[in-house]
Subunit: 451 residues, 2 copies
Amino acid sequence: MKLILLSGGSGTRLWPLSNDARAKQFLKVLRNEETGEFESMVQRVFRQLSSVVTADEMIVATNVAQTDMLRNQLGEIPIVVEPERRDTFPAIALACVYLHSELGMPRDEMIGVVSVDAYVDTAFYERVGELGELVYNTGAELGLLGVKPTYPSSKYGYLIPANHDVHMDVQRFVEKPTEEAAEELIEEGAYWNSGVFVFPVSLVLDILESKGFPIQYDLLLSEFSALPKKSFDYEVVEHLSEIVALTYDGYWKDLGTWNTLTEEMSSTIIGNGALSEDSVNTHIVNELELPVKVLGISNAVVAVSADGILITDKPASSRMKDMLLDGLFSRPMYEERRWGWYRVLDVTKKEDREILTKRLCVHAGRNLSYQYHHYRDETWTIISGLAIFVQDGVKRLVQAGDVLQISAGSKHAIYAETETEFIEVQMGTPLVEDDIVRITMDWEETMEYCS
Amino acid sequence: MKLILLSGGSGTRLWPLSNDARAKQFLKVLRNEETGEFESMVQRVFRQLSSVVTADEMIVATNVAQTDMLRNQLGEIPIVVEPERRDTFPAIALACVYLHSELGMPRDEMIGVVSVDAYVDTAFYERVGELGELVYNTGAELGLLGVKPTYPSSKYGYLIPANHDVHMDVQRFVEKPTEEAAEELIEEGAYWNSGVFVFPVSLVLDILESKGFPIQYDLLLSEFSALPKKSFDYEVVEHLSEIVALTYDGYWKDLGTWNTLTEEMSSTIIGNGALSEDSVNTHIVNELELPVKVLGISNAVVAVSADGILITDKPASSRMKDMLLDGLFSRPMYEERRWGWYRVLDVTKKEDREILTKRLCVHAGRNLSYQYHHYRDETWTIISGLAIFVQDGVKRLVQAGDVLQISAGSKHAIYAETETEFIEVQMGTPLVEDDIVRITMDWEETMEYCS
């Protein structure tokens, strides 16, 4: 069996810590009980899966905005990148075709699809493995994992079994019932639908072929935008009749709101913060150096990042998506990239010129690509590290105290010999991230310059 | 009569918006009803006093940390600067001696002392003027203004009159009684002591002389540190027997906590912020560009500045002074100066070197003094304006896009021809504000360079 980890979504409900480039699954607010270190949801799921399957049995399906974060947090795992955001059906279909046409996965082998934002015990993933065997042995079209409900939630989907054997056949589904209806469903013996799908890869390949799509990876990639923008539930599951299920009776939680996420945080304060004694059940998550002080406020979350400041009552945090999110900065103020990270320190406009001040860190052995800008000048003041700076073909070693002036049109790149940080002042009209022209250069030769 | 405005105190109770250089009376959170513009407490008091006395009848007693702010907010008014912070007796004594020996104020002329942090109607200051006449006509030693209590506060001092005529004689004082005791005092006919003092300047001159202090301004200034570090109440008022009082039956409030201050704010949001509809009686005061969102939190204050972030329940804000204020940044992150302002964008330490990134604004016609630093290098990237930059005796015109490198030991100054802003990166060990050696230079000659 191969496992597809679905890593999608933006993070408006966990603003300001999550944004397009840093969806909720990348927030390092959980604690790895073994090492004591902070870990993100995606790291936790990956660690749990690694105890059930081997790394080469996993593949991550994601979008281009998340690939740098995924590589930073998970290392060199296989990733299938959706060329644009559509929905879960196109994402799963592309990953299936990749596994089949690029990695030679046989049509009758099992696929398991899991999302990266469920907070569960490792036993959950052991059940996914058992579900694979069940689908294979019964010849069913699809297998689902039902979670034993702990309360009549109106936010989840329910699956209603036809029988109550160890291996259930699924009779029907109910999406987000009222609490009253949910209570009746639970009495009937219904389960929460965990969102796990297990099926032979042929299921998806057949559907694609029947719709006239190629099952060759590079061909499907180029037709990706033509795939139906539909969920896997809607496009596939609803049309099947032979669905089996296993049940899971353990911890299962969607960490999608500040309320549910903070319940799993091991500490009430992450970052520079202080709570008065009478601030009960309040959490601070502060990514800035700015001190945060909370006095006499209970049952709240204070979340602070370079994108903004949120103060929310815990139950109210489920309303995040509906409101409050207009008028925000249209650009991310902090981003992790493959080469390191940057933080926006200041944004202003003076005399029709926009000015952006950033602090950047380039990790040792990484580089910013050789590039130039049409409209902006940059001043870099190196504050730490040792790096090779290339400007218009001329290489020089730079270190703390060096000031580099880069006018519009001037080609430049930097390679960090040791971790290098600098303060950058950008000035231009317009001042936009995509005013960047990348040029290929021979880094091998450049690196030799240093030795 | 001359009026002494006492402007002292630091602002720990209104952290993070107030700090040593910006005490609570400088926060522009009130609204001038006539012009519709924001104004600070000190601006409000000055405006109200100006309708009762002329500008040359007022003098401000303050400390050196507040003089730039006072001049920025009030313009060119006379200021007596205490060489160090002591208490209200030394502050009032120095101002009295200044008025007498420098401005020739006769010994029998009246002094009125008012503080800048009371929020009152203009009628309050009219009563101060009437009090001056009363003290003069009765020959009393001192006059006080009693405020008609509106509730049995345990936080104020009470004065108990000997009679209940229009002009009262004061029988005794009670400082901060319990609420029960306050209720009895109010039944007895007691008043809140407003903290206004009116007396002939001879009162203070006689006390100084009797203690062997000079009543010549420059001499007293040099002996300032020997003056008793006591309040005027303790050092003077308690020893007097002939005290008269007038009463004031109107609005009077100490805006010393976030709770009381926000009650007088004309708008629930100052700066970039948003409140959900169910966030009732909550105020946002945000000095940063970072958006602040409040969801489902009522009766709270969210105050955000470059110094930090406070979220406090309103009644709890009176406990600010007791707690939460350790571990704060030891340096102000935003300061207004005579020449303009600066904001700290980033503070970090790399390879034993401290790095501070600032944005500075020098107002048109102002300059940073000619100076050099022993331990730090600076890079300035000019982002707007036109200025004369002087480095080691060489002058040049600079404008947006120019980058100025200033090594330790290099003498430099800047004169803003038009309002000029720049991003400054400081690097050094140690990196402290007072690593600065100022050198005199002929600015007249420099300015001519421009024309």
